[in-house]
């Protein structure tokens, strides 16, 4: 039991100490965004990975949360600490709405309807210019403030720890989910839907709960994102944002707790390093995605397993070798 805690403790310990090692704001910014991505992608993994539902509306939930937070805290002067609850609320409600048609559909149709939902939200944001700022985006969202402390001070270190805390909560919640009867039901539905129903699992209720649960994470992350970058843009509904998040998920490995997190962190740094390539970086990204799908279907999280198999094989080889 204690052994399983070693890796998480090391991981979060190292991340908690990162600001002590560098106060470089560039590193900090990339780290904050990477942590928020890790939260979002972990949430996506609940529907896509554990639930097996091809939900392409997940990033729209993130954008909806960012807009809801921005509009309520700026236009309607809600205190900035309400951002996270507002973001979660908006995201969960939207997830339940998008889940309703999904209950009736399968396969590619789920992808199309959830993608269509994102496009519909996008059109709404463009159309409601007075409310959302239209295609130029929503700006000057008030930063997060607790008591008298503005999270913008001290080089935004507060945001870093908020994002890290979010990720810690995410890991704890998803860990509990994976080891709970609810989590097993979700996975049972993914493994074999008719069989799951034949064992008394209520498809609609479990699926709605899955969507609501997975929406918590983009909701919270979207709120913090909006308060950190102080802006929301309709590009957040776009294809490229979606593709980035999906690449992270695939890179890390679908259906594991740590895969999406590792994927998000690695991909964030990787994508930042590729910036000088200009449009060429999309070429590299595309090739990397296809290569992962082709050669590492389980993503980075499948590598330890592959390594173990390889080692076993190597050991076996050595054991066999001395025999006559």
């Amino acid at each position: 039991m204690t052994r399983t805690l070693v890796f998480p403790a090391l991981f979060f310990g190292a991340l908690a100490l990162l600001p002590l090692m560098t106060d470089d704001s560039y590193v900090r910014h990339i780290a904050i965004i990477a942590l928020l991505y890790a939260v979002v992608v972990s949430g996506w993994n609940i529907t896509l990975g554990f639930g097996g539902v091809f939900n392409f509306a997940h990033l729209a939930l993130f954008a909806i949360a960012a807009y809801a937070t921005g509009i309520l805290t700026k236009t309607y002067d809600w205190p900035s600490w309400t951002g996270i609850p507002v973001g979660i609320g908006a995201s969960v409600i939207a997830a339940l709405v998008v889940c309703l048609p999904v209950l009736r559909l399968r396969g590619i149709y789920v992808i199309l309807v959830t993608f269509g939902f994102g496009q519909l939200c996008f059109q709404f944001v463009l159309n409601q210019r007075e409310l959302t700022g239209g295609n130029f985006g929503f700006v000057r969202i008030p930063p997060l403030k607790l008591f008298d402390y503005s999270f913008r001070s001290d080089g935004g270190i507060g945001y870093y720890y908020v994002a890290l805390l979010l990720l810690l909560i995410t890991v704890v919640l998803i860990h509990r989910f994976v080891h709970s009867p609810f989590g097993w039901r979700v996975m049972a539905l993914r493994e074999n839907e008719p069989y799951a129903v034949a064992r008394g699992i209520a498809l609609a209720r479990v699926r709605l709960s899955t969507f609501a649960f997975s929406a918590i994470f983009p909701g919270a992350a979207g709120a913090v994102y909006a308060q950190y970058v102080r802006s929301a843009s309709p590009d957040m509904f776009g294809f490229s944002f979606l593709t980035i998040a999906l690449s992270m998920l695939l890179l890390g490995g679908v259906g594991t707790i740590w895969g999406p997190i590792v994927g998000a962190l690695v991909f964030s740094v990787f994508s930042e390093l590729m910036t000088p390539l200009g449009p060429g970086r999309y070429l590299v990204t595309a090739v990397v995605i296809v290569a992962i799908l082709r050669f590492f279907p389980k993503g980075l999280s499948g590598i330890p397993e592959a390594w173990q198999t390889w080692r076993k094989r190597a050991h076996a080889g050595r054991d066999v070798a001395p025999q006559p």
């Binding site: 009867p181 097993w184 039901r185 996975m187 049972a188 993914r190 493994e191 074999n192 008719p194 069989y195 799951a196 129903v197 034949a198 064992r199 008394g200 699992i201 209520a202 498809l203 259906g255």
Partner: protein, 241 residues
């Protein structure tokens, strides 16, 4: 006394009339055998009874006084009508015991794990409780499927070819298992092509042909019914043609 009453159930797929007014009763505590040539509508009958994926076009199914027509598939299971599928089915990514745990109804008691372990013990699967279901043997997977059905606390259990693909000793073990379950006051309807098993466990036999009940009665009498023999021979002849 009738526990499950099936009256006048029909089901069509386009022009194909798979079930044409099927009626029969399942009595409390009995094992009812369901026989018939391939394509006679046996598995379709199980499908429409449990509404997986959809219920009958018309007709009534009443379980212990409750009309099932208004219920959704998972509610039917909770009402006490559970089934196994023809092929070994499981939640491969879950462990053996988790396969059982997801099927347990709420309010089963405080220590659900102990309850599930006891259930697995009955099926000789307790020592594999924490292995992924995808890693256990074929016979074990078959037993696990029945164990998960039992986890649903059924009053009527529908078994679709439990002996398919099993070795001779395994068939014997399966027959024992069915009788053992039956002793726990669970009525059983069993579809089976392995005739010795069917005749061994069944107290009564219903024979379907072309979606209709062809014969019904004691196993020994039914198998000697000329209509039944002809139906089987006819399908044999077709198969050889």
């Amino acid at each position: 006394m009738s526990l499950l009453t099936v009256s006048n159930v029909t089901k069509s797929f386009g022009a194909l009339r798979a079930l044409r007014g099927v009626s029969f009763d399942v009595h409390r505590g009995e094992v009812l055998g369901l026989a018939g040539p391939n394509g006679s509508g046996k598995s379709t009958l199980f499908n429409v009874l449990t509404k997986i994926p959809v219920g009958p076009d018309s007709g009534r199914v009443v379980l212990d006084g409750v009309d099932l027509s208004g219920l959704r598939p998972h509610q039917i299971v909770r009402q006490g009508l559970a089934r196994i599928f023809q092929t070994e089915t499981d939640f491969g990514a879950l462990t053996v015991i988790q396969n059982v745990l997801v099927a347990l109804p709420r309010g089963i008691g405080r220590d659900v794990r102990l309850y599930a372990l006891n259930l697995l013990e009955d099926f000789g699967l307790a020592d594999q409780a924490d292995r992924p279901a995808s890693e256990i043997g074929v016979f074990d997977r078959k037993k696990l499927m029945i164990a998960t059905a039992m986890a649903c606390a059924p009053r009527v259990l529908l078994l679709d070819e439990p002996a398919a693909g099993l070795s001779k000793p395994e068939v014997g073990a399966m027959a024992k298992l069915i009788k053992q379950i039956n002793r726990q006051d669970v009525a059983i309807v069993v579809i089976e092509h392995v005739m010795p098993l069917l005749l061994d466990v069944s107290e009564r036999l219903v024979v379907l042909d072309f979606g209709e009940v062809l014969a019904e009665g004691l196993p020994g009498e039914v198998v000697r019914d000329p209509k039944v023999i002809e139906a089987y021979l006819g399908s044999e002849a077709q198969a050889h043609a």
